[in-house]
Symmetry: C2
C-alpha cells in the first residue's frame, strides 16, 4: 500500500493539515518520529486530537525496527509523523530512500518547516545561502565545517540559517557500553550557547566570520504562540533569555540586506530591557 510521511508543522498537534489528519485517522498504524525535533505538544495530546494510538519511533526504533515498518507498508497504509516538514531532517530523507529501494510507495504530506518559517524575521527567504547545523561541542569534538559554510555564505553575500543541536534519548558512554537503556535528559541548544560556540571557534580558527559585534537574529519557538525574535549584536544577544526550545540563529549578510528587510529587523531590535542575563565579563570577574 503506502507509506505516508506526514509533516506536523512547528507548533502543536493542531498544526497537522486537514489532509494529514484524514490519513492519520484511517491508517493501519501511526508512528511518531521523535528524535530529530520536538513538538511543543506531547504524544498524549496528539492521541486525543487524532483519536488514535501514536507509536513513538525513537532513534533505536528507526535503526532497529524500521525494516519491519517498511514491510508493513507494502500491504497497509502506514503513517509516519515527522515534526516540521518531511524533508527538513536527514533522517526522513533516509527513510524515503530505504522505502523506495524496497518498492514501497511513498506519499509526502508537506507542512511548515523551519527553513521557510524563519521568513517571519523579515529577511527574504530568497537571500539565504546554505543552511548549517551547529552541534553541541564536547571537550574533544569540535567540528567546524559549518563555520566554513557560514564563511562561504558571507563571502557570496548570503544570509545563514543555523539550526541548533537537539539531543533526545541519548545514552551516556557508560550506559551505551553496558547496553543499559538509560537515557540522558533531553538537551536543546540555546541561541546563547550557539553564539558562545561560534565565538570560541573564531578565537581558535581566526577565520574572521563571527565576532561579538556580529549582527545576528535569535529565534525561539518559531510558529508557536510564544514565538520570540530578537535582533542585535552577538554580545547583546548573549544576555537575552530566549526561553524554552527550539531555538535557531540567523547570521544575515548585512552588505546585501534590502531596505524592506531592514524595516522588519529593526522591529525586532534588542532593547535594554531584554538584557536580563549577566555579562560574560562580569561572570568571569565573579569566578
Amino acid at each position: 500500500m503506502v507509506l505516508y510521511l506526514i509533516g506536523l508543522g512547528l507548533g502543536d498537534a493542531k498544526d497537522i493539515t486537514v489532509r494529514g489528519l484524514e490519513i492519520v485517522k484511517r491508517a493501519h498504524k501511526v508512528y511518531l518520529e521523535s528524535y530529530t525535533s520536538i513538538l511543543q505538544d506531547t504524544r498524549k495530546e496528539m492521541e486525543e486530537l487524532y483519536g488514535r494510538e501514536v507509536i513513538e519511533a525513537d532513534r533505536l526504533f528507526i535503526e532497529q525496527k524500521c525494516e519491519a515498518m517498511l514491510d508493513e507498508a507494502l500491504t497497509h497504509e502506514i503513517a509516519v509523523l515527522v515534526v516540521g516538514d518531511v524533508f527538513c531532517a536527514t533522517t526522513h530523507c533516509d527513510l524515503n530512500i530505504r522505502a523506495i529501494q524496497k518498492n514501497v510507495q511513498v506519499v509526502s504530506i508537506h507542512n511548515a518547516g523551519i527553513m521557510t518559517a524563519v521568513g517571519c524575521c523579515g529577511l527574504s527567504l530568497y537571500n539565504f545561502g546554505l543552511t548549517v547545523s551547529i552541534p553541541f561541542f564536547t571537550e574533544k569534538w569540535r567540528p567546524y565545517s559549518f563555520y566554513e559554510r557560514m564563511k562561504t555564505n558571507m563571502a557570496a553575500g548570503m544570509h545563514t540559517l543555523c539550526l541548533l543541536d537537539i539531543k533526545v534519548k541519548e545514552q551516556s558512554m557508560e550506559n551505551l557500553i553496558k547496553g543499559r537503556l538509560i537515557f540522558e535528559p533531553p538537551r536543546f541548544m540555546t541561541v546563547n550557547q550557539a553564539i558562545q560556540q561560534l565565538l570560541s571557534l573564531e578565537e581558535e580558527k581566526k577565520m574572521d566570520v563571527f565576532h561579538p559585534s556580529t549582527f545576528c537574529i535569535g529565534l525561539a519557538r518559531v510558529g508557536c504562540p510564544t514565538q520570540r525574535i530578537v535582533a542585535g549584536k552577538a554580545s547583546d544577544l548573549l544576555r537575552v533569555d530566549f526561553g524554552g526550545p527550539l531555538h535557531s540563529l540567523i547570521v544575515p549578510c548585512l552588505k546585501t540586506v534590502t531596505e524592506e528587510e531592514n524595516i522588519m529587523i529593526q522591529h525586532f531590535a534588542v532593547k535594554e530591557s531584554d538584557l536580563v542575563l549577566e555579562k560574560e565579563e562580569d561572570k568571569k570577574e565573579d569566578d
Copy 2:
C-alpha cells in the same frame, strides 16, 4: 484584533492546517490572496470545505483596498489566505510590514512552501543557495540578475531552485492605458520555457552557467497527487511534457552532490518514454 496570515500549502483546500481552519471558521472576514500563485483548487471548493465566504484579493485589491482591510484588522479577526507558506512570496512580506507599521497585530499560521517541499526530489535542503525567480521574457525585457545569482551559487558549490513566473490577472498594455478591466488569460511558465530562456541567456551573455548538457531537475505540481519529477540533461528535459502548472526547475551543483542525493536523483532519471515532445532541431527543420 488580529491579522492572520494563513498558509494554504501546495495542493488543494484540504492542505490547510487544523489550526488554520479553526481561524477561518471564526474570522470576521476571509480573504484569498490570488495573484502570486495558484491553488490546484478553486475558491468555490474552498468555500464548501471551510463553510465560509472567501473574498478574492487580487493584485488590484491588494494595491487599492489593502489599507481598508488593515483598518478592519484593528478591530476584528481578519484572515488572509496565501498559497504555500506565508513568507515564500514578497507580497505577503510587504503586507506584514504594512500591518506592523499600522500597529496591527499579525499572527502567521505557517504551512508547506515550495522552498522546503522541493526536498522531495532527493537533494538536501541544506545544500541549496540563493533561490531565484525566472520571469517571462518579452522582446524588450530580458533581465538576467537571476542568471548571475545562479552563477554565484554554482561557484560556491550550491544547488539553485528556480521558481517560475506566474501571470495572473494581467492587463494588456492597451487595456491598461484605456483603463479597461479586461485581463489576459493566466500564464504559468513551464520547465521547458524556463530551460529555453536559460539557454538563450547563455547564448547572449556567455557566462558559462547553463548549457544543453547541464543536468537539471524539472518538478511539476509538487505536493499534489499528480506531482511529477524528472531529472536529466536540459536538452532532454526540453522534450518532456510536465503537464499542468505549477512548475519549478532545480539546477544542482553536481560537484557537491552527495551519494544519498544521487540515489534519489537516479530514481527520477529521464526515460526514453518521457521524451514525447519534438526535438528543437526537428522543429527548426520543419519551419
